[in-house]
Symmetry: C2
Subunit: 214 residues, 2 copies
C-alpha cells in the first residue's frame, strides 16, 4: 500500500489542503459524484489543479489520467493519511458560550470526533446537562479519564484559565490539545497543541484591507 | 519611516507570528516591562530568537544590540504594520451559540475590533438584545450599512447559510469576511476572506498523534 510509505512525509500545508479537499469530496459524494478530476476539485477549492495533483501523489498514483479519481476511494485515502479513519474521543473543558457552541458544532456531531464528557469549575454549571452531557467538576477529570480512551482535550475556558487546564490535561495523559481560549497554551514536546486563534485571521484581514487602501 | 517601505512585503507566515508577538508584548507591557530582547520574546513565544529578529527587520533596524527593543514602540510598529493602529468596525451575521460566544470574546471587547451591529434571520431572535446589541433582521443590512464605516463582516451562521451571507456582505460593499461557519465561503478577488476552520486543527492533531503511534 503506497499510502503508508509516504504519509509521514506530508507537510503541514498539505495537511491543511487535504482537509479542504476532504470537505469538498464529502459534499460531492453526497451529491452523487463518483469520479472527480483535479480540475473539478480545483474549481471548487480555489487551489490550482497542479497543486492538488501534487498533494495527492502522497498516496501513490491512483488517479487515472483523463478520467480522474474515484471520490469514495480518495476520501478513504485522505482519511487514512490524516488518521481520521477511526473515531477520536475528546473531552471539553469549559462550557461557556464557546464550549456550548462547540458541543453543537457539526464537526462533533458527525461521529468522527466525539466529545464524550464536559467539565467546568463553576459550581453553578456542574451537574447541569448541556447538549445531553452532564457537566462534571474539573477536579474529577483524573478519575474520569482512567479507562476511557480519550486522545484530545478541548479547552474553551476564559484565557486566564487556559494554561492551567492545559497543564491539567497533560498531567492526566491527554496527547492532543485543541485550544479555543484567547491565550496561547504550551505543552511538553510529546503533547501536540493546536491553538485556534482567530485574532490572526482578524489581523490578516486588517492587513490586507490596509494594503489595498494604500 | 522604514515601516511603510517594507510592510507590503511581509509574508503571511510572518503576519501570524507578528500577531503572536503582539499578544505577548501586550502582556509584558501590562506586567511593567519596558525593554525586551528577541531571546526573551522567543522564550515566551516558542519561536526562535533568530526568526523573531528576522521578522522584526520588516520594520527597519530599531532594536539596540545587547539592549533589545522598546516594548511600547515595538507594539506600535507591529500594530501599524498590521493595520490595527486604528479601530475596525464589524457586523456579525448569526447569533446562535458561536455568534453569542464571539460577542463576549475578549478580542471584540478591547475596542480595536468592534462588533457594532448583529443580524439574524430567525424571527424569534430579531428584536432581542444580546450583549447590549439589538438583533436586526438580515434583510435590513443594506439600509443599515449606508453611512456606517463597516469593513469586516463576521459570519456565524449554520453552514448552509454561510455562502448566501457572504454574497450578501459582498453585495453591500464589505471588504473583509471572517467566516466561522463550518463551510468555506468564497468571494471575488477584491474581497478578502478568512475561514476560521478548526477541522484543520483537529485533523492536524489526529495526524500527529497517529504518526507518534506508528
Amino acid at each position: 500500500m503506497p499510502l503508508s510509505l509516504r504519509a509521514d512525509k506530508i507537510p503541514r500545508a498539505s495537511i491543511q489542503r487535504l482537509a479542504v479537499y476532504l470537505q469538498r469530496l464529502e459534499r460531492m459524494l453526497l451529491e452523487g459524484a463518483e469520479l472527480v478530476s483535479s480540475e473539478m476539485l480545483a474549481g471548487d477549492c480555489e487551489i490550482n489543479a497542479a497543486q492538488i495533483r501534487k498533494d495527492l501523489t502522497y498516496f501513490g498514483e491512483f488517479g487515472v489520467r483523463g478520467v480522474g479519481y474515484n471520490v469514495q476511494r480518495l476520501i478513504s485515502c485522505i482519511k487514512m493519511a490524516l488518521g481520521i479513519d477511526r473515531p477520536w474521543n475528546c473531552v471539553l473543558l469549559g462550557v461557556g458560550n464557546m464550549g456550548s457552541a462547540l458541543l453543537n458544532h457539526r464537526e462533533f456531531r458527525r461521529g468522527q470526533y466525539s466529545i464524550i464528557a464536559v467539565f467546568d469549575s463553576d459550581p453553578l454549571k456542574i451537574g447541569q446537562s448541556i447538549s445531553g452531557l452532564k457537566v462534571r467538576d474539573c477536579k474529577s477529570l483524573p478519575e474520569y479519564i482512567v479507562g476511557q480512551d480519550v486522545q484530545i482535550g478541548i479547552i474553551a475556558t476564559p484565557p486566564d484559565k487556559a494554561q492551567i487546564m492545559a497543564d491539567y490535561l497533560v498531567e492526566v495523559g491527554i496527547r492532543g490539545l485543541l485550544n479555543f481560549a484567547s491565550a496561547h497554551v504550551f505543552a511538553p514536546d510529546e503533547v501536540f497543541v493546536e491553538n485556534v486563534d482567530f485574532c490572526n485571521h482578524l489581523y490578516a484581514l486588517s492587513f490586507k484591507i490596509s494594503q489595498q487602501d494604500d
